[in-house]
């Protein structure tokens, strides 16, 4: 009997809840879809920091929502459509794998605005955004070449996608600008997310003679290994200096906040247009963590390069030759963005073989 009463009570309250849930309408709802957990302290974490920045900046003009851990397959379309149906004014898809499902939903809901990170397909109501992380990687390359005693860095990577290849190339171009004979050893961990494997990979690279570790994976594991061994490295996605106060020389910090604030404001003002923005250090989207644990000379060089990039110089400015020595860009020629976004060849001096 008690149970029945409880059930009845629940049902009643449910009805009430349903009504109250439908209020809160006139604010703009901005929504995010993340591929990983926001607790990864990496890629998805940084996007969520961007969402929080929007909340902070725009206060009660907006309401935000997110779904984390969305698989880049069958589930994605449903999550995007759910957001569209729930009255989101703008939806951000933060990972490449969301491109097609997001586009499908964007076409179905022409009044909702969409933005997709790191992809290449767009629509009148679906814009693109990305960050020029390679600018930061060029600086890291220069620092590594200056500071490495062995002219050898270990490079930990997740999966061979153009973004990662572009990063390796920018790093090498930076390093070669200081020391043409600089070398890297590359290890693929085939996972976006396994701190243990990242640590193992870092150890393997150090054991094979590298004295600096660079990573294009998200966790702090690798740089912690560097700290332990008294060697050096760079943080990734976020400033990891707390984890490696003696080892981190700098870090490429993804700061999506400025872009998100701009986009959400544009929607509020009614000025939003589907754009194709690719922002870098100049715009604050790519942010270099404080230069530390290096000589003053290196620090000065890094700061100069950073200023040069802010001034509009592109690290992918010719002459650039590929692994086989074939010239890809003649002296003075800047690689077009389209080439960079689809990059699948290594610059000269990289010994790894890219899976074809």
């Amino acid at each position: 009997m008690k149970k029945l009463a409880l059930l009845a009570g629940t049902a009643l309250a449910l009805a009430v809840g349903a009504v109250s849930g439908a209020s809160a309408a006139d604010k703009l709802k901005a929504c995010w879809v993340y591929t990983g957990p926001i607790g990864d302290f990496g890629y998805s974490y940084q996007h969520d920091q961007g969402r929080l920045a929007v909340e902070k900046e725009l206060g009660d003009k907006v309401e935000t929502a997110y779904v984390e851990n969305v698989a880049e397959g069958p589930d994605a379309e449903r999550v995007f459509e759910r957001f569209a149906r729930e009255g989101c004014g703008i939806v951000f898809g933060t990972s490449f794998g969301f491109m097609d499902p997001e586009l499908k939903v964007a076409k179905k809901f022409p009044d909702v605005k969409f933005e997709h990170a790191t992809g290449y397909k767009s629509a009148p109501n679906m814009g693109l955004y990305n960050a020029r992380f390679y600018e930061g990687r060029y600086i890291l390359g220069q620092i590594a070449a200056k500071e490495s005693k062995k002219a050898l860095a270990g490079y930990i990577v997740s999966f061979p996608i153009p973004e990662v290849v572009m990063g390796i190339n920018a790093f090498m171009l930076g390093a070669q600008s200081i020391n043409p004979d600089f070398k890297i050893k590359i290890v693929w961990v085939n996972s976006w997310f396994d701190p243990g494997k990242e640590a193992d990979a870092a150890k393997a690279l150090f054991d094979q003679g590298a004295d600096i570790v660079v990573q294009h994976t998200d966790s702090t594991a690798a740089i912690q290994v560097a700290e332990e061994r008294g060697l050096k490295g760079f943080g990734q996605s976020s400033d990891m200096i707390k984890f490696a106060p003696k080892a981190q020389m700098s870090a490429i910090v993804d700061d999506w906040g400025p872009h998100y604030i701009k986009s959400v404001k544009a929607v509020l003002d009614g000025t939003w247009k589907a754009g194709d923005v690719w922002e870098g250090i100049k715009d604050g989207t790519v942010h270099m963590a404080d230069y530390a644990n290096m000589s003053d000379e290196t620090k000065k060089l890094a700061e100069e390069t950073e200023a040069k990039i802010v001034g509009g110089w592109n690290p992918f400015t010719g002459p650039i030759a590929d692994q086989d020595g074939k010239e890809r860009y003649a002296a003075g020629v800047v690689a077009p963005d389209g080439d960079l976004l689809g990059m699948n060849w290594y610059v000269k001096g990289v010994d790894d073989k890219l899976p074809q």
Binding site: G39, P195, G196, D200, A204, D207, T220, S238, P355
Partner: protein
């Protein structure tokens, strides 16, 4: 170089060995707990949280074990007291653990941890070659080996171990002989939980002193597979864990040497190696059958 590689392999193998040896005991008592991943990740978050809050990694180790036991008790209650299906309950435990650890760990994301100290005996640890490997490990590495010897001795040489095996092999007769089948299984499951918790704590305190969601990254599943690999023999679990760890680490070295083989295939090697070695040694079918607990996965209700 060889020394360094061996040290890395020990680190990679220890969490697997800890969790596997615990699950081995649970399975020997007839309980198949597929929730190792859930217990491990709870151990990881609890170990990290306690370490950071108290400043003592040793307390963290204890915290990890306690957390493992606590969640294993949920599983034990559901499968042993209420005789629910073990396979599905174990998977439920994995879901539960992954979710709860994520919730509990939210405030610890982005905080640096404290690493469990390694043993340092002047004179011994500094010995060439073997010094660091034998005398320079942290307490959990020694504990993993102590657990292997302890469990082997317990199962084969003690009366209590005999009872545990009897319960796992034929719960009806064990019950008829007056042993508390459910009681023995509760203890075995709790031991499994404690060891999985330690394996998880090893991840967040020793392997990589940090907390991120899902940081065990499927090692609980590997540990489960290693119990099967071991054919329920403790010393074989050591072989399994170290084989898996070694192949994982060595394929990174192979990559760093630039052998130009697709990394995906190199990453497959630990899994393939485990399968191939198991096939090679499972020729001795009688020994395997002899060691397989016949009541594995079957519920027991004492009739009165």
């Amino acid at each position: 170089m060889l020394e360094a590689i061996i040290l890395t392999i020990i680190t990679a193998a220890t969490p697997l060995l800890l969790a596997a040896i615990g699950e081995l005991v649970a399975e020997k008592s007839g309980v198949l707990n597929l929730g190792v991943e859930g217990m491990m990740v709870m151990g990881a978050v609890a170990g990290f949280a306690v370490t950071v809050s108290t400043g003592s990694p040793l307390m963290g180790v204890v915290g990890g074990a306690v957390a493992g036991v606590l969640v294993s008790l949920i599983f034990a209650f559901v499968t042993l007291t209420l005789v629910a299906n073990q396979v599905a309950s174990g998977l439920a435990l994995t879901l539960f653990g992954l979710g709860l650890s994520g919730l509990l760990g939210e405030s610890f994301v982005g905080q640096p941890g404290i690493k469990l100290a390694s043993l340092d005996i002047p004179g011994l640890t500094t010995l060439p070659v073997v010094g660091k490997i034998v005398f320079g490990q942290d307490i959990l590495v020694y504990l993993s080996f102590a657990a292997v010897f302890g469990v082997a001795w317990f199962l084969n040489r003690t009366r209590a171990g005999l009872i545990l095996r009897a319960v796992g092999d034929n719960h009806a007769s064990a019950h008829a002989l007056g042993y508390s089948v459910i009681g023995v299984r509760y203890l075995a499951v709790m031991f499994g939980g404690a060891m999985a918790g330690l394996g998880g704590a090893y991840m967040s305190i020793a392997y990589t002193p940090l907390w991120v969601e899902n940081m065990t990254a499927g090692r609980g599943w590997i540990a489960l597979a290693l119990v099967v690999f071991a054919s329920w023999m403790p010393w074989r679990a050591v072989i399994g864990a170290y084989l898996f760890g070694a192949v994982t680490v060595l394929q990174f070295h192979a990559q760093a040497l630039g052998i130009g083989f697709p990394p995906q295939f190199l990453s497959m090697l630990p899994y393939l190696a485990t399968v191939i070695v198991l096939v090679a040694i499972s020729g001795n079918r009688r020994a395997t059958l002899f060691n397989t607990p016949s009541s594995l996965g079957k519920s027991f209700v004492p009739d009165r």
